[in-house]
């Protein structure tokens, strides 16, 4: 596209109209971006059918969330690490060592749980700072630093615990991992579905309304600035689907017990980190570093500092996951968190992160983690042995990344 300038003008704006051959590429982009959600929906439906509805029973939905919560917390930190073009192999060991620290403080030293929790999170931050220093300031590859960390922090776990499990945890900590919100408004009848907790339902409805409202506001604002938006029909469809999924989950949870506390925690983290990733200067710098770190340097991004804080953040989230996991088992054990990092990494990549960095979303990583969780849970409901579950998970990871690379290559050559 050459642009011959009129000799006397300073350049005339020629905004290309919406028609200029943009329909097809836009659809492809939409498919690639939303493919992960469609895949998730398909997997849920598939396993629900295969398990004759066992997958989506109230109890199992609740279990799914609680069982996978710590992996999802790790996945949030991991996606930022991966967007910046790094990797963290030590997350599982950090989960173990922070769980151990919290156990020693709360159980052995009978420290008040909020203080012990705070110290544990600080310990996680310190671990992240240690690894961040080597990666960001010393310039070692994250692969090596965190591989070393994987060994070092596993060893520290065993040292701290004296090679035995420590428990039980205070009730408050266990509540965070496995407890449910109390019933505030009592129960309400849902016809053939039986009784359900009214408070939970109210929260679900409020969440859906808030979600729709914010999406609608974003859409009208985009229109006001002359950006292209999807058609009203597509928008309504998307919102309806979102509402259906959220309400479906909430109704099942309400019928079982109530909202698990850990879901509240997860929701806060997902919303918070989505905002961090997409809207804050820090988050935008993470993407800039992963997209082209040299260009980021020459744009004034403090690449070293940002990288350092990405790892600190990862350490804090690993500490949260460590406490949640220990609380769930009611014990901190020397082998806790083994292979968690691999699940978190797989979640990020299945959720659309690019192997080369620069691309990825918090919600994508969560969806990737849920896909793995549903496969785990669904296959065990079907009575599949664990080796087969592992096999399927491995192949899914390979297929997801292969698809991403293939789609990108095709987009590249299609020009």
């Amino acid at each position: 596209m050459s642009s011959i300038a009129p000799p006397s003008e300073t350049g005339v704006a020629t905004p290309a109209g919406p028609g200029a051959g943009s329909a097809r590429p836009r659809f492809e982009i939409n498919l690639r971006a939303s493919g992960i959600y469609l895949a998730f929906a398909a997997i849920v439906v598939l396993f629900d059918i295969l398990t004759h509805g066992l997958l989506l029973t109230p109890e199992n939905v609740s279990n799914l969330i609680v069982q996978n919560s710590y992996i999802l917390v790790l996945a949030i930190g991991m996606i930022l690490v991966i967007i910046a073009g790094h990797i963290d192999l030590s997350a599982g060991s950090v989960v173990a060592v922070t769980g151990a620290i919290s156990a020693v403080l709360m159980v052995n030293h009978h420290m008040a749980w909020p203080l012990a929790l705070l110290i544990t999170l600080i310990a996680g931050a310190a671990i992240g700072a240690w690894q961040g220093y080597w990666v960001a300031y010393f310039g070692l590859p994250a692969f090596i630093v965190t591989l070393a960390g994987m060994l070092v922090f596993r060893a520290l776990t065993m040292t701290v615990l004296g090679n035995q499990g420590i428990g039980p945890f205070p009730n408050q900590v266990r509540t965070l991992s496995t407890g449910f919100l109390g019933s505030v408004l009592g129960n309400v009848g849902l016809g053939s579905l039986g009784g359900a907790d009214l408070f939970t339902l109210v929260i679900g409805v409020v969440a859906v309304l808030a979600g729709v409202a914010s999406q609608w506001r974003a859409r009208t604002a985009k229109q006001r600035y002359g950006q292209q938006v999807e058609s009203v029909g597509l928008f309504v469809g998307k919102m309806a689907l979102m509402a259906l999924v959220v309400l479906g989950v909430v109704v099942q949870l309400a019928r079982y017990k109530n909202l698990p506390w850990v879901l509240v925690l997860l929701t806060v983290l997902v919303l918070g980190y989505s905002l961090v990733a997409s809207r804050t200067v820090f988050g935008r710098h993470v993407y800039a570093i992963g997209g082209n770190s040299q260009a980021a340097v020459l744009s004034g991004v403090k690449v070293k500092k940002v990288t350092f804080w990405i790892f600190v953040n990862m350490g804090v989230l690993a500490a949260i996951a460590g406490v949640v996991f220990a609380g769930r088992l009611n014990q901190a054990g020397p082998t806790a968190g083994t292979n968690f990092e691999l699940d978190a990494i797989a979640a990020a990549f299945i959720g659309g992160a690019a192997v080369t960095g620069g691309v990825g979303k918090v919600v994508g990583a969560i969806t990737g983690g849920l896909i793995m969780g549903v496969i785990n849970n669904g296959m065990s409901l079907l009575g599949a042995p664990s080796e087969r579950v592992m096999l399927v998970k491995g192949l899914i990871l390979l297929a997801a990344v292969a698809f991403d690379v293939w789609a990108k290559r095709r987009a590249g050559t299609a020009r």
Binding site: M1, S3, Y225, V281, A288, Q294, A354
Partner: protein, 549 residues
């Protein structure tokens, strides 16, 4: 007597949108050293890549005759099998292998499927003796200096029974002693019957060793001069290199030059990769408000190194010197320091260092000044969109929307995104490194217009360019750089391509101002006529200018 070993006739090579070579003719006689000269981008390297099969037969028009046979090389091995070996400017040695391993890489001395180390090292030692390199063949290449590595490359070429040796800027990275040794070696090879083609910017070297020189300009053969039958002077070569028809046009512009904004004093930078090598040596520059200043220099002169080291020490080690901004000395330790002090730098390599190619236009534009768009720590995406849309209209960025990915834009539009980024960052001093490289003529005009607007907005603009007409067409003042030193500065009405080229090819001249004066007092006859062009640009300007602002 007419013993021509190589004849390239009517070579035309086209890249998408650019004619790199147009009907180029080259004849090289057997047993001679033949030099090829031209500005950056004149097509020298492209011609050699055509010859050596890097660009295979079929990808170009024209005919290559080597040693009486018409050749159609499909790749570099093909040409090597005929005895044509090219040594590229960036040496292609594997740093952690030994000298002997490098010499026989891809051409291993093998016995019964295993490397014959005895033969490998023995033959390597012979070759090293031939090129006069006193090193053990088992020494690691990374332990050698650049000059010795260059000799290893030549030994490697000799191992391939070379008959025509092509050297691309062989002395660009060498010091004087190493250069001298290399030139002696070339003379020795010539006496052994090896024909050499040497691409060089260093006219004194060409004068010293060559039998003939072919001058290329804008992808065409200008002339071939024979040192044996004609009187060839450096001036004559320079005239051939620069005297071009005015094919580009430049927007008219009357500068409103104000006070000094940035002064670079005694700036010295060392290479981060080659210990002890000065890439910028005691440079002094002054940039003024509203002025477009040029920085001319050939490849390896240290222009980019100077700019990047000033821009937050993003290049080089052991940087010394002073930066004086608005009369006060400033300390700039990092790029964000530099941006905070109002210095911006748009890189010469947009794709590698300038853009996040997988991200969209709006996020690239906001990248250097994101906090400007943030309220309470949150970036306002609508404001960002509005800003980007503004630049899309103002800079005439041709894209369906500011949400389009920058990797898919044309070079000109990518450059406009980079410029938008820096306009949004709003620095007082903006360094533009090769702002029109790889951009078609129409978009160049737009870029020049933007540069003028930046100056009119009171910014001090420093333009680094390898195209002399561009510098003469848009700059109010041009510095020339050679071998890390500022060798002179010429005002617009004094600057001619010849004078600049003389400064750019001057080496080891100590007093920059004296140099400029010496050159000014001895103008060549051709310089007078060239001088008219830049003046003309200024005469009718005032009217147009008002509209621009």
């Amino acid at each position: 007597m007419d013993d021509v070993i190589l004849k390239m006739a009517g070579i035309t090579k086209t890249f998408p949108g650019v004619k790199a070579l147009q009907d180029v003719n080259l004849e090289v006689r057997r047993g001679q050293i033949h030099a090829i000269c031209g500005e950056n981008g004149a097509g020298k390297s492209t011609l050699m890549k055509v010859l050596s099969g890097v660009y295979p037969h079929g990808g170009y028009d024209g005919e290559i005759t080597f040693d009486g046979q018409v050749c159609a090389f499909s790749d570099i091995r093909d040409s090597e099998s005929r005895g044509i070996v090219i040594i590229h400017q960036e040496l292609a040695l594997s740093p952690y292998l030994s000298i002997a391993e490098n010499i026989f890489l891809g051409n291993e001395r093998v016995r019964r499927g295993l490397i014959d180390w005895h033969r490998t090292n023995a033959e390597a030692a012979e070759l090293l003796a031939r090129v006069g390199l006193k090193e053990n063949p088992t020494a690691r290449v990374s332990d050698l200096g650049v000059g010795k590595q260059q000799l290893v490359e030549i030994a490697k070429a000799l191992s391939k029974k070379v008959r025509l040796l092509i050297l691309d800027e062989p002395t660009a990275a060498l010091n004087d002693a190493d250069s001298e040794h290399l030139l002696d070696l070339l003379r020795g090879l010539r006496s052994e019957g090896v024909t050499c083609v040497i691409i060089s910017h260093k006219l004194n070297e060409i004068e010293a060793v060559s039998d003939a020189v072919t001058i290329l300009r804008d992808g065409r053969t200008i002339q071939t001069l024979d040192f044996h039958t004609q009187e060839v002077t450096q001036d004559r070569i320079i005239t051939g290199m620069v005297g071009r028809d005015l094919e580009h046009r430049y927007p008219e512009h009357t500068p409103a030059i104000g006070e000094e904004v940035l002064r670079i004093e005694d700036w010295t930078v060392f290479s981060p990769t080659q210990r002890g090598r000065k890439v910028v040596d005691g440079a002094n520059l002054t940039l003024r408000r509203g002025e477009i200043t040029g920085l001319a220099g050939l490849m390896g002169a240290g222009r980019t190194e100077l700019a990047m080291s000033v821009f937050g020490r993003s290049y080089g080690v052991d940087i010394s010197g002073r930066l004086v901004k608005d009369g006060k000395e400033i300390r700039v330790r990092s790029v964000d320091d530099a941006i905070a002090h109002g210095i911006g730098y748009a890189t010469e390599d947009r794709k590698r260092y300038g853009l996040n190619l997988i991200d969209d236009i709006k996020r690239n534009i906001s990248a250097a000044a994101l906090p400007k768009l943030a309220r309470a720590g949150l970036v306002d995406p609508r404001e960002e969109y509005k800003v980007a849309e503004g630049y899309r209209a103002e800079m005439n960025i041709k894209a369906p929307a500011v949400t389009a990915v920058t990797g898919k834009l044309s070079g000109g539009n990518q450059q406009k995104v980079v410029l938008s980024k820096w306009m949004f960052a709003d620095p007082d001093v903006l360094i533009l490194d090769e702002p029109t490289r790889g951009i078609d003529v129409g978009a160049k005009f737009e870029i020049y217009t933007i540069v003028n607007r930046l100056a009119d907005a009171g910014k001090a603009v420093l333009v680094i360019s390898s195209e002399l007409p561009e510098l003469l067409g848009i700059c109010d003042r041009v510095y020339a750089m050679s071998a890390g030193r500022i060798t002179g500065v010429l005002d617009r009405d004094q600057a001619t391509p010849e004078r600049l080229m003389t400064l750019m090819t001057t080496e080891s001249l100590l007093e920059a101002d004296v140099t400029a004066e010496e050159i000014l007092t001895t103008p060549e006859p051709t310089a007078e006529s060239e001088q008219e062009a830049p003046r003309e640009l200024e005469t009718a300007a005032p009217f147009e200018q008002v509209e621009d602002q």
